[in-house]
Protein backbone atom coordinates (compact mmCIF):
# COMPACT_ATOMS: atom_id res chain seq x y z
CA UNK A 1 0.00 0.00 0.00
CA UNK A 2 2.79 2.43 0.93
CA UNK A 3 4.46 1.48 -2.33
CA UNK A 4 1.28 2.35 -4.21
CA UNK A 5 1.13 5.81 -2.62
CA UNK A 6 4.84 6.41 -3.24
CA UNK A 7 4.27 5.93 -7.01
CA UNK A 8 7.93 5.11 -7.60
CA UNK A 9 8.99 8.40 -6.00
CA UNK A 10 6.58 10.52 -8.08
CA UNK A 11 3.72 10.51 -5.54
CA UNK A 12 4.39 14.17 -4.68
CA UNK A 13 3.47 15.10 -8.27
CA UNK A 14 0.78 12.54 -9.08
CA UNK A 15 -1.47 12.89 -6.03
CA UNK A 16 -1.72 16.72 -6.11
CA UNK A 17 -2.68 16.45 -9.80
CA UNK A 18 -5.45 13.98 -8.96
CA UNK A 19 -6.51 16.10 -5.96
CA UNK A 20 -6.96 19.15 -8.24
CA UNK A 21 -8.95 16.99 -10.66
CA UNK A 22 -11.37 15.86 -7.95
CA UNK A 23 -11.70 19.21 -6.18
CA UNK A 24 -12.33 21.21 -9.37
CA UNK A 25 -14.93 18.71 -10.64
CA UNK A 26 -16.61 18.62 -7.21
CA UNK A 27 -16.95 22.41 -7.36
CA UNK A 28 -18.25 22.05 -10.95
CA UNK A 29 -21.01 19.74 -9.67
CA UNK A 30 -21.92 21.75 -6.57
CA UNK A 31 -21.97 25.24 -8.16
CA UNK A 32 -25.17 24.77 -10.23
CA UNK A 33 -26.98 23.29 -7.20
CA UNK A 34 -26.25 26.37 -5.11
CA UNK A 35 -27.19 28.70 -7.95
CA UNK A 36 -30.42 26.78 -8.49
CA UNK A 37 -31.44 27.37 -4.86
CA UNK A 38 -30.70 31.09 -5.20
CA UNK A 39 -32.61 31.44 -8.50
CA UNK A 40 -35.69 29.62 -7.15
CA UNK A 41 -35.59 31.79 -4.02
CA UNK A 42 -35.51 34.94 -6.19
CA UNK A 43 -38.44 33.73 -8.32
CA UNK A 44 -40.52 33.12 -5.19
CA UNK A 45 -39.57 36.52 -3.81
CA UNK A 46 -40.66 38.30 -6.99
CA UNK A 47 -43.91 36.34 -7.03
CA UNK A 48 -44.65 37.24 -3.41
CA UNK A 49 -43.96 40.95 -3.99
CA UNK A 50 -46.24 40.96 -7.02
CA UNK A 51 -49.03 39.19 -5.17
CA UNK A 52 -48.90 41.64 -2.24
CA UNK A 53 -48.90 44.54 -4.69
CA UNK A 54 -51.98 43.19 -6.41
CA UNK A 55 -53.74 42.52 -3.09
CA UNK A 56 -53.52 46.14 -1.92
CA UNK A 57 -55.99 48.31 -3.87
Amino acid sequence: MAEFFAMGGYGAYIWPAYAVFFVVLAIDAIAPRLRRKRVLHEIRGKLKRRQSREATP
Partner: protein, 259 residues
Amino acid sequence: MNPLVLWFHKIGSPPTFYRIAGVLAPWCFAIAIAVGAFALYGGLVLAPRDYQQGDAYRIIFIHVPCAWMGLFAYAFMAVNAFIALVWRIKLSEILAMASAPIGAAFTFITLVSGSLWGKPMWGTWWTWDARLTSELVLLFLYLGVIGLYHAIEDRRQAARAASFLALIGIVNIPIVHFSVNWWNTLHQAQTVRLMGPSKISGDMLWPLLTMALATHVWFFASLFARTRVGLLELEGGKDWARDVALAEATRERTVTQHG
Protein backbone atom coordinates in the same frame (compact mmCIF):
# COMPACT_ATOMS: atom_id res chain seq x y z
CA MET B 1 -43.65 21.70 -40.89
CA ASN B 2 -41.91 18.38 -41.23
CA PRO B 3 -42.00 16.12 -38.15
CA LEU B 4 -38.25 16.38 -37.46
CA VAL B 5 -38.37 20.19 -37.26
CA LEU B 6 -41.47 19.93 -35.10
CA TRP B 7 -39.74 17.50 -32.73
CA PHE B 8 -36.72 19.80 -32.59
CA HIS B 9 -38.90 22.76 -31.62
CA LYS B 10 -40.56 20.74 -28.89
CA ILE B 11 -37.23 19.60 -27.39
CA GLY B 12 -35.90 23.13 -27.68
CA SER B 13 -38.72 24.73 -25.70
CA PRO B 14 -37.41 25.67 -22.22
CA PRO B 15 -39.94 23.76 -20.03
CA THR B 16 -39.54 20.55 -22.08
CA PHE B 17 -35.75 20.70 -22.07
CA TYR B 18 -35.81 21.53 -18.36
CA ARG B 19 -37.78 18.36 -17.65
CA ILE B 20 -35.70 16.09 -19.91
CA ALA B 21 -32.40 17.46 -18.57
CA GLY B 22 -33.66 16.89 -15.04
CA VAL B 23 -34.16 13.21 -15.78
CA LEU B 24 -30.83 12.81 -17.60
CA ALA B 25 -28.48 14.81 -15.32
CA PRO B 26 -28.42 12.47 -12.26
CA TRP B 27 -27.93 9.43 -14.52
CA CYS B 28 -25.05 11.12 -16.35
CA PHE B 29 -23.38 12.05 -13.04
CA ALA B 30 -23.73 8.47 -11.76
CA ILE B 31 -22.43 6.90 -14.99
CA ALA B 32 -19.51 9.36 -15.17
CA ILE B 33 -18.44 8.57 -11.60
CA ALA B 34 -18.75 4.79 -12.08
CA VAL B 35 -16.90 4.75 -15.41
CA GLY B 36 -14.30 7.19 -14.06
CA ALA B 37 -13.62 5.03 -11.00
CA PHE B 38 -13.15 2.01 -13.25
CA ALA B 39 -10.76 3.98 -15.49
CA LEU B 40 -8.73 5.17 -12.49
CA TYR B 41 -8.40 1.61 -11.20
CA GLY B 42 -7.09 0.63 -14.62
CA GLY B 43 -4.75 3.60 -14.84
CA LEU B 44 -3.35 3.72 -11.32
CA VAL B 45 -3.31 0.01 -10.40
CA LEU B 46 -3.46 -2.25 -13.47
CA ALA B 47 -1.47 -0.30 -16.06
CA PRO B 48 2.28 -1.06 -16.03
CA ARG B 49 5.04 1.45 -15.30
CA ASP B 50 6.34 3.43 -18.29
CA TYR B 51 9.87 2.35 -19.33
CA GLN B 52 11.03 5.98 -19.67
CA GLN B 53 8.92 8.02 -17.26
CA GLY B 54 8.35 5.46 -14.50
CA ASP B 55 5.12 6.09 -12.58
CA ALA B 56 5.08 9.83 -13.36
CA TYR B 57 3.31 9.16 -16.64
CA ARG B 58 0.16 8.18 -14.69
CA ILE B 59 -0.82 11.87 -14.72
CA ILE B 60 -1.74 11.20 -18.38
CA PHE B 61 -5.01 9.56 -17.27
CA ILE B 62 -6.40 12.91 -16.14
CA HIS B 63 -4.24 15.35 -18.12
CA VAL B 64 -5.11 14.13 -21.63
CA PRO B 65 -8.87 13.49 -21.11
CA CYS B 66 -9.21 16.95 -19.53
CA ALA B 67 -7.28 18.54 -22.41
CA TRP B 68 -9.61 16.84 -24.88
CA MET B 69 -12.60 18.09 -22.90
CA GLY B 70 -11.25 21.65 -22.96
CA LEU B 71 -11.36 21.52 -26.76
CA PHE B 72 -14.63 19.58 -26.92
CA ALA B 73 -16.40 22.05 -24.61
CA TYR B 74 -15.13 24.92 -26.74
CA ALA B 75 -16.40 23.30 -29.94
CA PHE B 76 -19.76 22.64 -28.26
CA MET B 77 -19.91 26.24 -27.02
CA ALA B 78 -18.98 27.65 -30.46
CA VAL B 79 -21.63 25.58 -32.31
CA ASN B 80 -24.32 26.74 -29.88
CA ALA B 81 -23.02 30.31 -29.99
CA PHE B 82 -23.36 30.22 -33.78
CA ILE B 83 -26.94 28.89 -33.58
CA ALA B 84 -27.74 31.50 -30.91
CA LEU B 85 -26.45 34.35 -33.08
CA VAL B 86 -28.03 33.21 -36.35
CA TRP B 87 -31.39 31.80 -35.25
CA ARG B 88 -31.65 33.44 -31.81
CA ILE B 89 -32.72 30.23 -30.14
CA LYS B 90 -32.92 30.74 -26.36
CA LEU B 91 -31.87 27.19 -25.53
CA SER B 92 -28.68 27.55 -27.61
CA GLU B 93 -27.75 30.75 -25.80
CA ILE B 94 -28.09 28.97 -22.47
CA LEU B 95 -26.25 25.84 -23.67
CA ALA B 96 -23.35 27.93 -25.00
CA MET B 97 -23.03 29.87 -21.75
CA ALA B 98 -23.41 26.71 -19.63
CA SER B 99 -20.51 24.97 -21.37
CA ALA B 100 -18.06 27.85 -20.73
CA PRO B 101 -17.46 27.21 -16.99
CA ILE B 102 -17.18 23.44 -17.56
CA GLY B 103 -14.61 24.00 -20.31
CA ALA B 104 -12.74 26.44 -18.06
CA ALA B 105 -12.69 23.84 -15.27
CA PHE B 106 -11.24 21.15 -17.55
CA THR B 107 -8.69 23.56 -19.05
CA PHE B 108 -7.60 24.60 -15.56
CA ILE B 109 -7.09 20.94 -14.56
CA THR B 110 -5.11 20.39 -17.78
CA LEU B 111 -2.76 23.29 -17.02
CA VAL B 112 -2.20 22.34 -13.36
CA SER B 113 -1.76 18.61 -14.00
CA GLY B 114 0.54 19.40 -16.92
CA SER B 115 2.62 21.63 -14.70
CA LEU B 116 2.84 18.88 -12.07
CA TRP B 117 3.91 16.46 -14.79
CA GLY B 118 6.41 18.89 -16.33
CA LYS B 119 8.38 19.47 -13.13
CA PRO B 120 9.74 15.92 -12.70
CA MET B 121 10.00 15.18 -16.46
CA TRP B 122 11.26 18.47 -17.94
CA GLY B 123 12.69 20.05 -14.80
CA THR B 124 10.36 23.05 -15.01
CA TRP B 125 6.78 23.87 -13.98
CA TRP B 126 6.21 26.07 -16.99
CA THR B 127 7.67 27.02 -20.35
CA TRP B 128 6.33 29.47 -22.91
CA ASP B 129 6.11 26.93 -25.71
CA ALA B 130 3.29 26.90 -28.25
CA ARG B 131 1.16 24.17 -26.64
CA LEU B 132 1.29 25.56 -23.12
CA THR B 133 0.77 29.14 -24.22
CA SER B 134 -2.19 28.37 -26.50
CA GLU B 135 -3.76 26.26 -23.72
CA LEU B 136 -3.42 29.24 -21.37
CA VAL B 137 -5.04 31.45 -24.04
CA LEU B 138 -7.88 28.88 -24.15
CA LEU B 139 -8.45 29.34 -20.41
CA PHE B 140 -8.45 33.13 -20.81
CA LEU B 141 -10.96 32.86 -23.67
CA TYR B 142 -13.29 30.86 -21.42
CA LEU B 143 -12.87 33.40 -18.62
CA GLY B 144 -13.48 36.21 -21.12
CA VAL B 145 -16.74 34.63 -22.29
CA ILE B 146 -17.90 34.09 -18.69
CA GLY B 147 -16.87 37.61 -17.69
CA LEU B 148 -18.57 39.28 -20.64
CA TYR B 149 -21.75 37.26 -20.04
CA HIS B 150 -21.93 38.51 -16.47
CA ALA B 151 -20.93 42.10 -17.29
CA ILE B 152 -24.09 42.88 -19.31
CA GLU B 153 -27.40 43.39 -17.52
CA ASP B 154 -29.82 42.04 -20.16
CA ARG B 155 -29.43 38.24 -20.17
CA ARG B 156 -30.12 37.73 -23.87
CA GLN B 157 -27.92 40.59 -25.04
CA ALA B 158 -25.19 39.32 -22.73
CA ALA B 159 -25.46 35.84 -24.23
CA ARG B 160 -25.19 37.19 -27.77
CA ALA B 161 -22.15 39.36 -26.99
CA ALA B 162 -20.40 36.47 -25.23
CA SER B 163 -21.35 34.13 -28.11
CA PHE B 164 -19.66 36.52 -30.51
CA LEU B 165 -16.47 36.44 -28.44
CA ALA B 166 -16.67 32.62 -28.34
CA LEU B 167 -16.83 32.52 -32.14
CA ILE B 168 -13.79 34.80 -32.52
CA GLY B 169 -11.85 32.56 -30.14
CA ILE B 170 -12.23 29.56 -32.47
CA VAL B 171 -8.96 30.59 -34.20
CA ASN B 172 -7.14 29.35 -31.10
CA ILE B 173 -8.53 25.80 -31.33
CA PRO B 174 -6.43 24.54 -34.29
CA ILE B 175 -3.39 26.25 -32.75
CA VAL B 176 -3.84 24.23 -29.54
CA HIS B 177 -4.35 21.03 -31.49
CA PHE B 178 -1.52 21.31 -34.02
CA SER B 179 1.00 23.21 -31.89
CA VAL B 180 2.94 20.04 -31.00
CA ASN B 181 3.36 19.24 -34.71
CA TRP B 182 4.17 22.76 -35.87
CA TRP B 183 6.74 23.59 -33.19
CA ASN B 184 8.98 20.95 -31.69
CA THR B 185 9.53 21.97 -28.07
CA LEU B 186 9.32 20.40 -24.61
CA HIS B 187 5.74 19.14 -24.89
CA GLN B 188 5.66 15.65 -26.34
CA ALA B 189 3.83 14.93 -29.60
CA GLN B 190 0.43 13.28 -29.87
CA THR B 191 0.32 9.74 -28.46
CA VAL B 192 -3.25 8.77 -29.25
CA ARG B 193 -4.42 9.20 -32.82
CA LEU B 194 -7.75 8.71 -34.50
CA MET B 195 -6.09 7.97 -37.85
CA GLY B 196 -3.40 5.34 -37.80
CA PRO B 197 -2.01 3.37 -34.86
CA SER B 198 -1.62 5.03 -31.45
CA LYS B 199 1.87 5.12 -29.97
CA ILE B 200 0.83 3.62 -26.64
CA SER B 201 0.49 0.09 -25.26
CA GLY B 202 -3.01 -1.36 -24.98
CA ASP B 203 -3.01 -1.74 -21.19
CA MET B 204 -2.31 2.00 -20.90
CA LEU B 205 -4.66 2.98 -23.73
CA TRP B 206 -7.90 1.47 -22.39
CA PRO B 207 -7.86 3.35 -19.04
CA LEU B 208 -7.12 6.55 -20.97
CA LEU B 209 -10.02 6.08 -23.39
CA THR B 210 -12.34 4.97 -20.57
CA MET B 211 -11.46 8.13 -18.66
CA ALA B 212 -12.15 10.16 -21.81
CA LEU B 213 -15.61 8.56 -21.95
CA ALA B 214 -16.20 9.37 -18.26
CA THR B 215 -15.23 13.04 -18.69
CA HIS B 216 -17.50 13.37 -21.74
CA VAL B 217 -20.46 11.99 -19.78
CA TRP B 218 -19.52 14.30 -16.89
CA PHE B 219 -19.56 17.27 -19.28
CA PHE B 220 -23.15 16.52 -20.25
CA ALA B 221 -24.18 15.92 -16.64
CA SER B 222 -22.83 19.31 -15.60
CA LEU B 223 -24.18 20.91 -18.79
CA PHE B 224 -27.72 19.65 -18.08
CA ALA B 225 -27.58 20.82 -14.46
CA ARG B 226 -26.29 24.26 -15.48
CA THR B 227 -28.72 24.62 -18.41
CA ARG B 228 -31.66 23.91 -16.10
CA VAL B 229 -30.63 26.76 -13.80
CA GLY B 230 -29.98 29.04 -16.77
CA LEU B 231 -33.46 28.35 -18.19
CA LEU B 232 -35.09 29.01 -14.80
CA GLU B 233 -33.21 32.28 -14.49
CA LEU B 234 -34.09 33.42 -18.03
CA GLU B 235 -37.76 32.42 -17.78
CA GLY B 236 -38.26 33.37 -14.12
CA GLY B 237 -41.42 35.32 -14.93
CA LYS B 238 -43.10 32.48 -16.84
CA ASP B 239 -45.68 30.16 -15.31
CA TRP B 240 -43.65 26.97 -15.63
CA ALA B 241 -40.66 28.47 -13.77
CA ARG B 242 -42.97 29.73 -11.00
CA ASP B 243 -44.51 26.28 -10.70
CA VAL B 244 -41.03 24.80 -10.28
CA ALA B 245 -40.12 27.42 -7.64
CA LEU B 246 -43.34 26.86 -5.67
CA ALA B 247 -43.14 23.06 -5.90
CA GLU B 248 -39.56 23.22 -4.62
CA ALA B 249 -40.64 25.37 -1.65
CA THR B 250 -43.37 22.85 -0.74
CA ARG B 251 -40.90 19.97 -1.04
CA GLU B 252 -38.37 21.75 1.22
CA ARG B 253 -41.08 22.39 3.82
CA THR B 254 -42.11 18.72 3.89
CA VAL B 255 -38.49 17.66 4.24
CA THR B 256 -37.92 19.95 7.23
CA GLN B 257 -41.19 18.85 8.88
CA HIS B 258 -40.66 15.14 8.51
CA GLY B 259 -36.90 14.80 8.20
